[in-house]
Symmetry: C2
Subunit: 147 residues, 2 copies
């Protein structure tokens, strides 16, 4: 069937694409290992950059860790003073985590470096092309990579 085989081609493209995304982000976040955080801890901090404050359950869900392991990594981040903890007064079982000042500073440092890497990759694109790029990201995020 025609639509089936073209779907296969599209699928192959998606697989190759996701592999490329993984490889490029791995390369660009390689500066993280200069900082004193493990990859799992970085993922947690990155998630906090996008959404604050967050509970351990939310982190576990979105980062793909079990709740006990999330709790352990959060404790380590607290020990490193990269995040802060507070109880949710409307439900005192819930713990609210946010980046500390140090954590913010560290993530800003890392993000600045990652941003530099991305900017090198899109340097030389015209405004028209940048607009198309943004539209492409929006489209993919609304279809294939929606949550």
């Amino acid at each position: 069937m025609e639509s089936n085989s073209s779907q296969n081609v599209l699928f192959q493209k998606i697989v190759a694409f996701t592999a490329a995304v993984h490889e490029v982000t791995h390369e660009l976040t390689s500066g993280v290992k200069n900082e004193d955080v493990t990859p799992a801890q970085y993922k947690i901090l990155e998630y906090m950059m996008l959404s604050q404050p967050v509970t351990p359950s939310e982190i576990a869900d979105c980062v793909g860790l079990s709740l006990p392991n999330t709790s352990r990594e959060l404790r380590k981040l607290l020990e490193k003073k990269l995040c802060e903890k507070a109880v949710d007064h409307s439900d005192r079982r819930r713990q609210l985590f946010r980046l500390s000042e140090d954590g913010q500073a560290m993530m800003n440092r890392i993000f600045a470096q990652v941003q530099k890497g991305f900017e090198q990759r899109i340097a030389g694109l015209s405004n028209q092309e940048l607009t198309e790029l943004e539209a492409a990201i929006t489209l993919l995020q609304q279809t294939v990579f929606r949550q």
Copy 2:
């Protein structure tokens, strides 16, 4: 500066997008853990799916492992009979790895499941939209996520 702040917005979008790609691929490849391979081993097998045969050096480069650790994981995959090894006769230092029949079958099984997951995500898109999707992937891969 206008172009600078719009670049920041684009960067934020890229960060959120890459996080979404990681999360979705993690979710869709969750069936991998029914099979007897670790995440690192899966990455190697996935790379072999896209390009065969491959040498340990190529794998190390593309998958982001050190050569000794790549060699270790390849040995484990050989023990599991998921790949095969042969010397390159034109340069007998080089070792050529490819998927075994079992490995092919396993990856086909996993890919079929992943493909099903992706197809659910793009079900209901018109042919026009699918074409746009493919164009969007091509654009991103040629700019931001090129290697």
